[in-house]
């Protein structure tokens, strides 16, 4: 076992993990932060995306031991301090960017990473950035709309067809 300490959503946490423990297992099984989902477990679908030191990563394809000392942010850390939804989360609700909701934590984390790098992305840039996030419900249109709306851009021209 290896001892790990990291900051998760602003709080310092510690635990003992096996070498093979994935970051997503540590978050879900040890910390009970089950908002981060495991969809495919093969790094294809993006439902497990979290931020590690500010960068989006697939928590199913990173060892917990690799995150020792890191600053981790999960979907549980996305809401505003008063518990209200963040701009991105609210935009997903307003624009029906989710149906079953399984992919949504990863989508929101990816959207947050994108808008940090590129505060006013084009529709094409949003779609390119979502390449590693799979949604089987929405057909992506409303997710793209939600992210563009969260960036403060007009979205009426991007109607779902």
């Amino acid at each position: 076992m290896t001892s790990v300490t990291m900051t998760v959503n602003g709080k310092s946490v510690s635990g003992d993990v096996e070498g093979r423990t994935l970051l997503v297992q540590f978050l879900r099984d040890d910390l009970k932060l089950t908002g981060t989902h495991v969809g495919c477990d093969t790094s294809q679908c993006g439902a497990c995306q979290v931020h590690v030191d500010g960068k989006a990563v697939k928590a199913c394809t990173m060892l917990a031991a690799e995150a020792d000392g890191a600053d981790v942010k999960t979907i549980e850390g996305m809401a505003n301090a008063d518990g209200s939804l963040s701009v991105i989360q609210q935009a997903f609700q307003d624009h029906h960017g989710l149906q079953c909701g399984f992919c949504t934590p990863g989508m929101v984390m990816t959207a947050a990473a994108l808008l940090k790098e590129n505060p006013k992305p084009t529709e094409a840039e949003v779609r390119h950035y979502l390449e590693g996030n799979i949604c089987r419900c929405t057909g992506y249109h409303n997710i793209v709309k939600a992210i563009l709306a969260a960036s403060g851009q007009e979205v009426t021209q991007i109607a779902a067809e």
């Binding site: 790094s43 294809q44 990563v57 994108l114």
Partner: protein, 263 residues
């Protein structure tokens, strides 16, 4: 995944020492190795993470004008830090996997694995790069030795990759949409000494140089120069995503597109 001992050395020499153990394996960003271990296709006893080796991270330019990239540098960092110094390479790095994969995967990990459909081998071979390890320097022409096979010895680490900067370069990738690997990808680079064309994703022997196209493009760097050439389908990969004939055709098409885009 079978369990293993995880170690994270801080220097190249400590990493080399750790890799001397029985069944020890180096871990770059883990974007290939971890999925492989989940499928129990690999089961090392010790995993030696290279992510803590600070001297292997970063991008700089040496006195010879080559771009030097530390082996543990992520694709995202290469994309960002070579955007002005070597746009062709930056463009390739920005097409690998997806943003989250690019935040973890490393150039050294990709080159050490030498997946026949990975992007980086085409940039290294197409640029005539030098692969620097903890013991020696290897020319890209000698480094790639077939599918998942390289000149690396057991326990040898890719510490740096040095890219001579071309006058023009471009990478065109025909994406296999499920995996986002290259169904066929072509890296074209024009140097004063001639044009190099490296093809990934197509051959059963991994990345290769298309010498007929290199000769034609060295005379005339236009897409027209390759339009009457053909690539033999013998030895091309055939799978449910594409036949050998299809891949051979793609080599020519993507080469033409890369030349046009490089102008």
């Amino acid at each position: 995944m079978h369990n293993f001992e995880f170690v994270k050395p801080g220097t190249i020499s400590d990493a080399v020492a750790a890799l001397g153990g029985e069944e020890a394996q180096a871990l770059g960003g883990g974007q290939t190795l971890l999925p492989t271990m989940k499928q129990r296709l690999a089961a090392p006893t010790t995993l030696v993470s290279l992510s803590g080796v600070g001297e292997m991270v970063g991008v700089c330019t040496n006195d010879a004008g080559e771009i030097c990239i530390g082996g543990a540098t992520t694709h995202a960092q290469v994309q960002a830090e070579t955007a002005s110094s070597y746009p062709g390479l930056s463009g390739l790095a920005g097409q690998i996997g997806d943003p989250a994969v690019r935040n973890r995967g490393t150039i050294g990990g990709s080159l050490a694995n030498n997946d026949p459909a990975a992007c980086y081998p085409s940039a290294a071979l197409g640029s005539g790069a030098t692969i620097v390890t903890n013991t020696r320097e290897i020319a890209a022409d000698d480094y790639f030795q077939g599918m998942f096979t390289t000149a690396l010895d057991e326990g040898e680490i890719v510490t740096e990759v040095r890219f001579p900067v071309p006058m023009a370069a471009n990478y065109q990738k025909f994406v296999q949409p499920a995996s986002r690997f290259a169904l066929t990808g072509v890296f074209v680079a024009k140097y004063a000494s001639g044009v190099r064309v490296a093809v990934t994703g197509a051959s059963e022997n991994g990345v290769f140089r298309w010498s007929e196209a290199e000769a034609a493009l060295s005379s005339s760097f236009t897409a027209d120069a390759v339009k009457d050439l053909s690539v033999p389908a013998d030895g091309m990969i055939g799978d449910l995503h594409g036949t050998p004939d299809y891949r051979a055709h793609l080599v020519k098409v993507m080469t033409g597109r890369a030349v046009t885009a490089a102008q």
